[in-house]
């Protein structure tokens, strides 16, 4: 009788301590959630009060900020598509995708500079931009496909962290290979053609030409991608491979080729993103891809990784968070020089998303293998 009692006692204590530990972690997570909401509410109130008092940015400044945040976000969204697709199909974070994006901008810069020198850039701006777009897309696609062939393919089926670590290595290799080839300095694109630097009225709202173009290009690219994934045969193969590689192989789908296509399409989207970066920021350096890469991944997680419309939505939202967040929330809290904290806001957004809703806003769409 005695041993039984002891046993019974010990189970109750362990279960109690267990429940206690779980509650403790949950409590901390709840604390984070509540603290985040309180911070945001207090910050917003502060900013609104400031605004009522006539301090801080004017309505026009807010509007411009909103537009530029959305256009930055659209660019993040395009890069995020690459992360999302690769994660959906292979289940690992391709850390080097940011460098794929940078490569497109960098090689596009060569094309842009040459065209600027022989006058095409100003003579026929849209043709010139189209050429830059093609160059950037081809470069990014090529690099994405090459990294897949050399670095990732031999690792299929290895423990999940191995490809991730490899992609970190690829990312550093690409960064410093470009630093070696192009030098470490900041390269500047030629100034945008005259038509684009003027404001264009959309429903009575003046929007700077480049930003409008960025948003338009992003929408077009998104539609093209949606058509490709949803309507074409290759797109269907891609979805099948994401669902279950083995069965897809048995159904006669060439899995290797489909995976390559996934990388290629992701790379092409990163190339489009590269053109948008060039339009928005006009400069490029070997480390240009690093931060936007991580932010684009954040965007992919925000929208629900593996979910393509989610990636685009996540990108736009992240652009808004990081563009407006510092002024909208942190400024209201009386923090000085908030624009320095832009990146910190983006990363905090990532942490908060994963604490609040780990599967993202629109939900994850992964194959059954990856869901575990």
């Amino acid at each position: 009788m005695l041993p039984r009692q002891v046993a019974a006692n010990s189970t109750t204590t362990t279960s109690r301590t267990r429940r206690f530990r779980f509650n403790w972690v949950d409590g901390f997570l709840w604390f984070i959630r509540v603290a985040a909401i309180i911070t945001i509410v207090v910050g917003l109130t502060g900013t609104i009060q400031n605004f009522m008092a006539g301090q801080g940015p004017s309505v026009e400044q807010w509007r411009d900020l909103f537009v530029s945040s959305i256009s930055t976000g659209a660019m993040y969204g395009l890069v995020a598509l690459g992360y999302s697709m690769v994660y959906g199909v292979l289940g690992f974070i391709n850390f080097a995708h940011g460098e794929v994006f940078m490569a497109g901008i960098m090689v596009g810069w060569i094309a842009a500079t040459i065209m600027f020198q022989n006058g095409l850039w100003d003579g026929n701006p849209f043709l010139a931009l189209a050429i830059v777009l093609v160059v950037a897309m081809v470069t990014s696609t090529l690099i994405a496909v090459l990294t897949e062939k050399i670095a990732y393919r031999p690792l299929r089926g290895s423990p999940r962290l191995i490809p991730l670590i490899t992609s970190i290595g690829v990312s550093f290799f690409l960064q410093y290979a470009f630093a070696g080839l192009f030098g470490v300095g900041l390269q500047t694109y030629p100034p945008p053609p005259g038509i684009l630097s003027r404001d264009i009225n959309v429903f009575g709202v003046p929007i700077e030409g480049t930003k409008l173009l960025v948003i338009l290009v992003a929408i077009l690219a998104m539609i093209a991608l949606w058509y490709f994934v949803a309507k074409t045969k290759t797109g269907r193969a891609m979805r099948a491979v994401a669902e279950d590689k083995e069965i897809a192989g048995l159904m006669g789908i060439n899995v290797d080729r489909t995976i390559i296509t996934t990388f290629a399409v992701g790379g092409a989207m990163a190339g489009v993103g590269g053109l948008l970066w060039a339009l928005l920021f006009r400069n490029v350096q070997f480390i240009t891809g690093f931060l936007p890469g991580i932010k684009a991944f954040t965007a992919a997680v925000l929208g629900g990784i593996g979910n393509l419309p989610g990636a685009m939505l996540g990108g736009v939202l992240l652009g808004l968070f990081e563009g407006m967040g510092p002024l909208l929330v942190l400024d209201g809290l009386g923090i000085p020089a908030v624009s320095q904290l832009k990146d910190a806001v983006a990363f905090s957004a990532l942490i908060l998303v994963l604490v609040f809703r780990p599967s993202g806003l629109l939900g994850e769409r992964l194959g059954s293998e990856e869901r575990a």
């Binding site: 972690v25 500079t113 031999p154 970190i168 192009f182 000085p336 320095q340």
Partner: protein, 578 residues
Amino acid sequence: MIEMRRVLRLGLLAGVSMSFLGSIGMVETFNERTLIDPILRMGDLFFYGTLLTIAYFAARGEVNVLEQPEVEMGTGTLTGAGVGLVAAAFTSAFLVLIDSVNVLEFFPNMDQSMIQSLTFEQGIPIGLLLLGAASVVAGALGGLLPALSDRTRKSIWLVSGWVISISLLEVVVADIVESRTVIRAIYAPGGGLRLWSAAAIAVLVVVLSRRYEGRFGSFTTRVRESDAKSRLRRSLIALAVFAAIVLPMLLGGILNELLINVSLFILMGLGLNIVVGLAGLLDLGYVAFFAVGAYGTAVLTSPLSPTVSPELNWWVALPVVLILATLAGLLVGTPVIRMRGDYLAIVTLGFGEIVRILLLSDWLTPIFGGSQGIRRIPGVQVPFLGEVGGTRPELFVYLTTIFVLIAAYISYRAQNSRVGRSWAAMREDEDVAEAIGISTVRAKLLAFITGAIVASFAGALFAAKVGAVFTNSFDVLVSIIILVVVIVGGMGSIPGVVVGAFVLIGVLGGPKSPGLLQEFAEYKLLFYGAILVVMMLKKPEGLLPSVRRSRELHQDEMSQDAWLDRDTGHVLEDRLET
């Protein structure tokens, strides 16, 4: 039988690689260092070494478990020479192109001096012939290698390894030997071994390796199979400790400086090894804990700390830093506890960046000094010796060594304890671990906290050594480099971390500090990236793997179905393709 398509393909690959090495300016920079006085420079070694390696693989063919290809000497040499010829043709075409089209505006390294350095300073027409000849020779040598007997090949490896290392480690050798006449006899005045000393080393290595053939191997297996508490292991550890005590006395200031740097990275590597290697949590923001340690110490000890400035003694500050690190570990660890492995990596990376951005921001400048950093951090007070700081590297080394020993002891004990086993179980399969009654929450938090504390030690030592902290010492690169150290050494292996840190930080150099090979400065991160990829592809268990970890990684090869699936599958595919 020579497969022409294979020769062509690999020759092109070699040509592209060689042109790439030239285009990033590496050959040119590395050629400033001579290895063997008149005949071999480091740039050429890398340039033709790449070709030699590719030619080796071209001649050897695919190796798999089912068949070990026999390579005939003639075929091998011809294949290799063919690869060399194709590579040389590609590289020459590339050089001629560079010579005729000016691309300097876009590619600053593709200039005339690059062409000169690739053509043995002879310029386009004559130099290209030399380049071609050298490539064919290097390719043929590479192709010959797989045809040689294992014993000969091993001797060649040993000889080239020793000659190159002794040549590269000139500074260390000069520092230890201290006799100028001996050094002058071995090394040429412009750096590099003299021809005859290189030959002498080669002969010595061959004779010694033949004399003691097989003994080293049997010794390592004996160590490996020995009990953890056996006399052999104990005497080895005693030997290592003795070397750690004596070595700093023999070395000069600069090398001790380097040694301190290496031991700081060993310390951080040991900490990250607990998190990544033992518990399997990929932390990419590990530098945040290092920053907590360094900034904590700075604020607590420096008289110049802006707002809070208690000016504590380093030893009094240490426990406070430890508590801060524990809190930081909890703060980072708790939100990520439920996350999947790869989300965890990105979130920790985000945490690391947030810490750096906050330290740099105007908002927290009143506490941490922003971009000005915090200066005048006092050294460590040691009884009888006074203040030991960065100005006395020969003493500071001992301090870092002591902490390394403590950290090694902690991780060794943790590894074999109940916690260590629950980490291993969790790393293998979280759900199963949970099911057999391991509290993964507790195990994860413990891993984070232990890792954080070890990193904060490193931070505290770093602050005391440098005497000032700035945010740029804490960027994401540091986290990645520590990760590379752990991976190259072997995840989960304590001696692995030590070896990894010596090889990478000591030779290549750390994120901000040069290593022994200062020429690498520009290219070391390129190497770090390449090393990471190659290690993951070829040897994911690291140089000195922990037994348990390597079994996990090669698990699928052991179960027969998977083995058949992998290897025969590839063979069939290849046959179908060709």
